[in-house]
């Protein structure tokens, strides 16, 4: 049935071709459909976990919440460090022109300096779109009120509040309390940065640094669900922050203020502690600094100014200042010499005003030009006779001298709970060999014996050592923390560390030396510390000290000779009171000026005036 009609043939051919092509088309569409399903399988099954994570990180925003930093109080709950809210005006990141317009609008209500504007635009590239960028920090209450009244006109602006550290006593407690600041790279490596997400602020000095862990607390976080614009749609989970503990210091703010005032314009330091338990009641260092300067982020200029200021205010002289102890060292030597029977109370030396080691030409002067005549150990302490001690330490030799001073903690850090304590220096032949490459001369022993030469102590070391005399050898590590209170209200008392006591074979030796020290403050007996002044109502034992800064006579200070200030002697006064049941030990050091004894007298009188009153009322 071969059809020869060309139209018919064409039609059949077309039909066949159409049917073929239709099947090809269906098949290719099925293939494309399968490819799509394969793609979906790849995305939804093979890569499912990956995309689930991405979806989660899209919508989850974990915002750390800052714990409130612990407060610091003195022993009577007087605040030394608090937190106050500060307010920052921020602008939402947007186009530059828009931001310029907005700043102009804000200026109608709140002054924005050119400097602030400049800083704002410098920070702009570091922020993502729709993130608030700080424009003006530390808004005043008036500015804050103006903002809220006009808020409806200022779209895209925000007020962010933050807690800022404030120190009510400022420079009175500056070097002791220290300050907080932004975490630097070095610190970042030592801490768990997750705990600092919300407020990257850390203690940098003083108590703030020492007790960072107690003060900081634990950071919390909120898990928020956010939409594509960054708006919060709901809170998924909340882990509240744990606030820091409140620290109660051993400090008595009244004594601290007085100590700072007593120092006046002089450069120097005063430390007062309780010899029974090591509580530091006052530690004043001059010049000082106002730690509030650091709270809002100190400017580069201010910081450089503090670093380079005369007398180095950032330096806490109590534990970082190293001075020659001068004659304050004499009672310690006398204690060992009497106890080891090197001398007796009856041993006398004739003081002509000078001393010479046999076989040498060098003459060591007494501070008193004409000498003190015949002197025993009690008189030698009272008058601070140098010649007596020249003879004594020559007799003892450096080894016995070091053995006498070591148990009191000289040359070692006291272990106080404050950062960056210096160790001082108790020289020895082996030390000299190592550092100077020279042998020890008898002359070095002589100088060490009157607290000069290489010998260096910190005021705190000396205070701790004097406290040991006051308590007949008891040694407690001085400390500033009394207790800390956790946010739930439980109080943890600080346990002062006891060190092995100084043990003397003969208990009467303590009394002999202390009696001699009592005479130091008696004007009638011509004691060297007679500027101490009245001590009616309490007994006191003390010792003066003068440390040469430059080689000239040591009685220069009360002369009218014109010696440049920075070359004048440093003056010490160490004391404890009352003698029987000591309550306080005091060390005063004044750089390049006298009157250390007078200042110690002022402080102790104030202390006893206050405390005898307390005892009378209670």
């Amino acid at each position: 049935m071969q059809s020869t009609n060309p139209i018919q043939r064409n039609k059949m051919k077309l039909n066949r071709r159409f049917s073929q092509r239709l099947i090809i088309l269906i098949a290719s569409m099925a293939l494309l459909t399968l490819i799509l399903i394969g793609r979906l399988f790849f995305l939804q099954v093979i890569r499912h976990e990956n995309y689930t994570n991405q979806s989660q990180s899209n919508l989850l925003n974990i915002i750390p919440s800052a714990p409130s930093r612990g407060l610091i109080t003195d022993r009577n709950k007087y605040f030394l460090a608090k937190n106050i809210p500060t307010y920052t005006l921020s602008l939402m990141s947007a186009g530059k022109d828009l931001l310029h317009d907005k700043i102009t609008a804000i200026r109608h209500f709140i002054p924005i300096s050119d400097k602030e504007e400049l800083r704002f635009f410098r920070m702009l590239p570091h922020y993502r779109l729709y993130q608030p960028i700080p424009l003006k920090t530390h808004l005043t209450n008036v500015q804050l009120a103006r903002y809220y009244v006009n808020r409806y006109r200022l779209s895209g602006t925000y007020i962010q509040s933050q807690m800022m550290r404030t120190y009510p006593e400022g420079d009175v407690t500056g070097p002791l309390i220290g300050y907080v600041g932004r975490i630097n790279n070095h610190e970042a490596n030592q801490i768990n940065m997750n705990n600092y997400g919300a407020q990257p602020v850390i203690g940098k000095a003083g108590v703030e640094k020492q007790y960072e862990q107690l003060l900081h607390g634990e950071s919390g976080h909120n898990e928020l669900e956010i939409n594509a614009k960054g708006e919060i749609t709901q809170t998924l989970a909340k882990t509240p922050a744990k606030d820091g503990s409140t620290l109660t210091l051993t400090l008595d703010i009244k004594l601290q203020r007085l100590a700072q005032r007593i120092l006046g314009k002089d450069t120097g330091a005063i430390v007062m502690l309780d010899p029974n338990n090591g509580d530091i009641l006052a530690m004043a260092s001059r010049p000082t600094y106002d730690n509030n300067l650091f709270s809002g982020g100190i400017s580069h200029n201010d910081y450089q100014h503090l670093l380079n200021a005369d007398g180095h205010p950032l330096f806490n002289r109590i534990l970082q200042g190293q001075f020659a102890p001068g004659s304050t060292i004499k009672p310690f030597i006398a204690l060992a010499a009497l106890d080891k029977n090197i001398i007796t109370t009856n041993t006398t030396v004739y003081d002509p005003g000078w001393f010479r080691i046999k076989g040498t030409k060098h003459i060591y002067h007494d501070w008193h030009l004409t000498g003190h005549g015949w002197v025993n150990v009690v008189k030698a302490i009272k008058l601070s006779c140098d010649v007596f001690f020249y003879h004594l330490v020559q007799l003892m030799g450096i080894h016995k001298l070091d053995d006498a001073l070591n148990p009191f903690g000289f040359g070692q850090p006291t272990g106080v709970d404050l950062p960056r304590e210096h160790a001082g220096l108790l020289p020895s032949p082996s030390w000299k060999k190592q550092t100077h490459g020279q042998i020890w001369f008898t002359g070095d022993t002589i100088e060490t014996g009157i607290g000069q030469g290489f010998f260096l102590v910190t005021p705190l070391q000396l205070a701790s050592a004097i406290a040991s005399i006051a308590t007949h050898g008891k040694r407690v590590v001085p400390h500033v923390l009394k207790s800390h209170t956790t946010p739930d209200g439980s109080i943890h008392l600080f346990e002062p560390k006891q060190l092995s006591p100084v043990i003397l074979k003969h208990a009467w030796v303590w009394d002999t030396v202390i009696k001699a020290m009592q005479q130091v403050v008696e004007p009638k007996l011509h004691g060297t510390g007679h500027y101490f002044g009245s001590h009616r109502g309490f007994t006191v034992a003390g010792k003066t000290g003068t440390a040469q800064v430059y080689g000239h006579t040591r009685d220069e200070d009360r002369t009218r000779r014109n010696i440049p200030k920075h070359l004048r002697n440093n003056h010490w006064f160490v004391a404890f009171a009352p003698v029987k049941h000591p309550k306080v030990a005091v060390v005063v050091v004044i750089e390049h000026n006298a009157w250390a004894d007078k200042k110690a007298g002022q402080l102790l009188r104030a202390y006893f005036a206050e405390h005898s009153h307390h005892e009378a009322t209670s």
Binding site: N10, M29, Q54, S55, N58, T233
Partner: protein, 382 residues
């Protein structure tokens, strides 16, 4: 006793259902509607509304609007289904010419929206002529190949090419790359089915591969950016790549079973762009998972297949060409949309038929299914 009563009730219910079935069968037949295809399309529209409710973030207003679109579309469908294919064939050249005129009018007096000139404002009614051309171009091509009644010669093919090129280029100029692709492809299916020789096909595919680098120059900068983004979305995660990355995250995080209806985070928190229109499949896939997606794709394929079977049974060359081309076009648009949101294809702006929110596309799709139904219903008549 008991048994007989249950038996009688069974009988009664059978009769009742049978009578009701015959009633709507009769209705469909009277209005030339294909019952199976109508059912599948209604199912697809219903699914579309359910997805839209979630994608629009439970915006009832928007769903009501879409229901209105669907109602209007069915009215148009029923109306056009009454037109016999013969009539359609006769009108094809006229409609094509009208469409070209409207496209030209758009270029000069069109309504600008989103930087593109796509709409004609006809006194409150917005007409998108490129949507019409999705129908008129394959109609014209089918008409062309039907008229020559032979294996097309080179001249016939060149004329066909020109017929495709005019509306495609005009639509690209608007610019609307997505619609232009759909117009060109719908006509190409006619071309393919009408019997190009294997040699010509090979030559054409070779030529188009060569043409790709040249056509690059004709694209708008935003279209170029889209294609660059498609090739490597991660280079610009917050700019052009953002949409496709977020879409892949939505689909991928949906997993095998999905996050559940109304529980898609990517769409409800607005990470997904255009989630009621072009990216609606991402919303669906996030909430219904691989299972849901496969079922939806199967539904698309079933509709396509039903139409292809209809095409197979057509005696008239114009009818079968148009029927197959429109059906393929429908599935192709769906595949391009889904390929686009899954990152297989560049984002070109093709909506998902019957699912994406929008009236114009719904109407043109309804019109094409109306023609198919008309062909199926009228095939015995001629």
């Amino acid at each position: 006793m008991k048994q007989s009563s249950s038996h009688s009730s069974f009988n009664r219910s059978f009769k009742k259902s049978h009578s009701r079935k015959s009633w709507w069968r009769h209705f469909l037949k009277r209005w030339h509607l294909d019952p199976l295809l109508s059912g599948l399309l209604l199912l697809l529209s219903a699914i579309g509304c359910v997805i839209l409710y979630s994608a629009s973030d439970m915006d009832k207003h928007m769903v009501m609007h879409q229901l209105a679109h669907i109602g209007l579309a069915w009215a148009v469908l029923i109306a056009i289904a009454q037109v016999p294919p013969q009539q359609l064939k006769q009108w094809a050249p006229l409609l094509y010419a009208l469409g070209i005129i409207l496209l030209l009018a758009v270029l000069f007096v069109g309504h600008v929206d989103n930087g593109a000139r796509r709409w004609l404002n006809l006194g409150g009614f917005h007409l998108q002529p490129s949507e019409l051309m999705k129908l008129f171009t394959p109609m014209m091509l089918a008409f062309h190949f039907d008229q020559i009644k032979r294996i097309p010669s080179a001249r016939d093919n060149i004329i066909a090419c020109i017929l495709i090129a005019i509306p495609t280029v005009l639509t690209m100029k608007q610019p609307d790359l997505g619609t232009a692709i759909i117009i060109a492809s719908s006509a190409l299916w006619v071309f393919f089915l009408s019997g190009l020789s294997r040699r010509t096909l090979l030559f054409a595919s070779g030529a188009s591969i060569v043409a790709i680098p040249f056509s690059w120059h004709f694209l708008h900068s935003y279209q170029k950016a889209r294609i660059m983004t498609f090739l490597n979305p991660e280079t610009d995660p917050l700019g052009n790549g953002y949409h496709i990355i977020q879409s892949k995250i939505a689909i991928g995080s949906g997993g095998f079973l999905g996050k559940g209806w109304l529980h898609g985070t990517q769409s409800h928190l607005n990470f997904l762009p255009e989630h009621t229109t072009d990216f609606i499949f991402s919303v669906f896939s996030e909430e219904w998972g691989l299972i849901g997606s496969i079922l939806l794709i199967a539904l698309f394929f079933a509709i396509f297949y039903r139409c292809m079977v209809t095409a197979q049974h057509q005696k008239d060359h114009f009818s079968r060409l148009l029927c197959a081309a429109l059906a393929t076009s429908f599935l192709f648009a769906a595949l391009v949309n889904m390929g686009m949101v899954t990152g297989l294809l560049p984002v070109v702006g093709v909506p998902l038929p019957f699912i994406s929110y929008g009236g114009s596309v719904m109407l043109s799709q309804a019109a094409s299914f109306a023609m198919i139904m008309s062909m199926r219903a009228h095939k015995r008549m001629w």
